[in-house]
């Protein structure tokens, strides 16, 4: 089985978010970038398939040269090869188009993407990619088994979960649950050394229009100070929620 794992290069979850150039650009100053957490669960599941079922695993990212450190980390974790599509990831459709091109050229059976990236949170790339390449699609995937060309997936739904049967080629939008957090891997020295020798191919983007433009960013308005209520005066809290906040 050939697996492609789509990797987004995103600010670490603890990052403070700021903007520059008149609030049109994300301020990367002092920000640590990591593998998108949803993708990391997918990458670890791909490693499981590699070790248990002999799959080969490539990782792909659409981004500038600055994202190569993230791809190298994925190689150090155990991916066999990496592809970087040399273009800024500015629109979900554009990114999906690039990934579809890589997927078609590589003849992958299973494509694992995170259900969304934690920067733009568009949540559109996995579904668009599946549709562009005519593959089956399971989103919010929290468990995946593959037997030959048959697959069984569990996805999270609002208020529960759903088990479905499908077949390869398959695209999943993965998330926490696909593997346990405790199973996520940290690259070791041997992995880091080996990653240096693994191929990281840079390909130029295919032509694709951009359907959306992020024109500006805003930060939420600063909050007022918290109103503290005495622990012995629950009536006051209820009154505030009813009369002032009007939420009960």
């Amino acid at each position: 089985m050939k697996i492609l794992v789509c990797i987004s290069h995103v600010p670490d979850t603890t990052s403070k978010i700021n903007f520059t150039e008149g609030d049109t650009k994300f301020d990367t100053n002092g920000v640590q970038f990591v593998i998108n957490p949803n993708d990391e669960f997918g990458l670890t599941r791909a490693m499981w398939f590699k070790e248990k079922q002999g799959a080969t695993v490539d990782v792909v990212n659409v981004g500038g040269a600055e994202t190569e450190s993230t791809l190298r980390k994925a190689l150090a974790i155990g991916a066999d090869g990496a592809i970087r599509v040399n273009a800024a990831a500015t629109d979900g459709f554009f990114v999906a188009k690039q990934l579809a091109e890589v997927a078609k050229n590589g003849g992958y059976d299973l494509i694992i993407a995170g259900r969304e990236s934690i920067d733009y949170n568009g949540g559109m790339v996995p579904g668009m990619l599946a549709e562009l390449i005519g593959a089956n699609f399971v989103n919010n995937c929290i468990n995946l088994e593959v037997d030959g060309t048959a697959a069984t997936a569990i996805r999270e739904i609002d208020g529960g979960k759903e088990t479905s049967s499908t077949s390869l080629p398959l695209v999943i939008g993965g998330q926490k649950g696909l593997v346990e957090e405790s199973d996520l891997r940290i690259p070791n020295m041997r992995g880091i050394m080996m990653a240096r020798k693994k191929p990281l191919n840079v390909v130029e983007p295919t032509d694709a229009e951009k359907e959306t433009t992020a024109v500006k960013f805003e930060k939420p308005a600063p909050r007022g100070a918290v109103k503290l209520v005495d622990a012995g005066n629950i009536d006051e809290l209820i009154s505030l929620l009813h009369n002032e906040a009007k939420v009960i």
Partner: protein, 322 residues
């Protein structure tokens, strides 16, 4: 060229979010000077949509659509959009809508903006405000394509009554077998419980509760409020509560009207996940807990003393305000 809206349902009845997206669609239709057409799938009574500004309902009855299927639902919406000449399609931010919308976007060659929190600020260019960086910021987005898909964030626009009359028309999309490459084997859903996605109020608890055996009072508080229960990441990692209740950057985002956090200190990833909620209440023994800086109301106190009192007082309040 009406505005098309996908109105979600469960067991033949509309979900509350259906009325919210209908309300949003009406606002967009007003801005564009056109009408609203809703697509309703396997609904017993579609007439309720008229209360929220829908002019026409395309009523789909199909056994093959009994279970949600992203490609088949997207195909249904594509066919409805083409029939109506719709240039704008409105969907919710439910798990299902977020799954079908990208497929629909490819089918309609449409730009898609998800997590939209307000009515368009302009329709030419078509400009919406959406959350980004997991609610740590907003992103003003222009959708440049001819057809546009807007995914409305839950509880962001609210319900707006616009009483009128809606015509209901049967609609039978053509759905070929190739759409059904994913077959649902089983659905495991807690019935009768409010889900985080649908909830107006969410009651959430963290490690301050000391153990899973203490969740009874959290569930009771949620029951009294008609709320969903949720938890912090350490709690789901410890296995005290299911992963589906984990709220935060790698869990679920919560955009409730009221979010009550009990025994949760307020890590940056958790606060990001709940930032879109309107009113936040925090109950914590530690006055220095970061959550107090993000909350509207707070009680410095022991959850084991405060929550039982809160349950009793809320019961009294409900009885007096029924």
């Amino acid at each position: 060229m009406s505005v098309l809206v996908y109105t979600e349902s469960e067991q033949g009845k509309f979900k509350k979010v259906a009325f919210e997206v209908a309300s949003y669609a009406k606002e967009v239709a007003n801005q564009l000077g056109t009408t609203v057409t809703a697509v309703a799938i396997n609904i017993e009574d579609a007439s309720e949509l008229a209360n929220y500004g829908v002019d026409k309902v395309l009523n789909v009855s199909a056994d093959s659509l009994k279970d949600f299927n992203a490609k088949a639902y997207a195909s249904t919406l594509r066919q409805a959009a083409e029939k109506e000449g719709a240039k704008v399609v409105i969907v919710s931010s439910s798990t299902d809508s977020k799954t079908l919308a990208p497929i629909l976007a490819i089918n309609l060659h449409a730009g898609y903006a998800s997590n939209v929190v307000a009515a368009p600020t302009s329709t030419n260019p078509f400009t919406v405000k959406r959350t980004a960086f997991t609610n740590k910021a907003f992103n003003i987005t222009e959708i440049n394509s001819d057809v546009k898909i807007v995914g409305v964030s839950n509880n962001s626009f609210g319900l707006v009554e616009n009483s009128g009359a809606a015509t209901v028309e049967s609609f039978a999309p053509s759905l070929d077998d190739s759409l059904f490459g994913v077959k649902v084997d089983s659905v495991d859903k807690v019935s009768g419980k409010v889900t985080i996605a649908d909830a107006d109020i969410v009651v959430s608890a963290g490690r301050g509760l000391k153990g899973p055996e203490n969740w009874g009072m959290i569930e009771e508080l949620a029951d009294v409020l008609g709320a969903a229960t949720a938890c912090s990441k350490p709690v789901s990692d410890l296995g005290w509560r299911p992963h589906g209740e984990h709220v935060g950057q790698t869990g679920k985002p919560v955009a409730a009207n009221l979010y009550i956090a009990i025994g949760i200190s307020g890590a940056i990833q958790h606060l990001a996940g709940i930032n879109a909620s309107k009113v936040k209440v925090v109950i914590n023994t530690d006055p220095e807990a970061p959550f107090f800086k993000a909350a509207d109301y707070g009680i410095v106190g022991d959850a084991f003393e405060v929550v039982p009192q809160l349950i009793e007082k809320l019961k009294e309040f409900k009885a007096n305000n029924a």
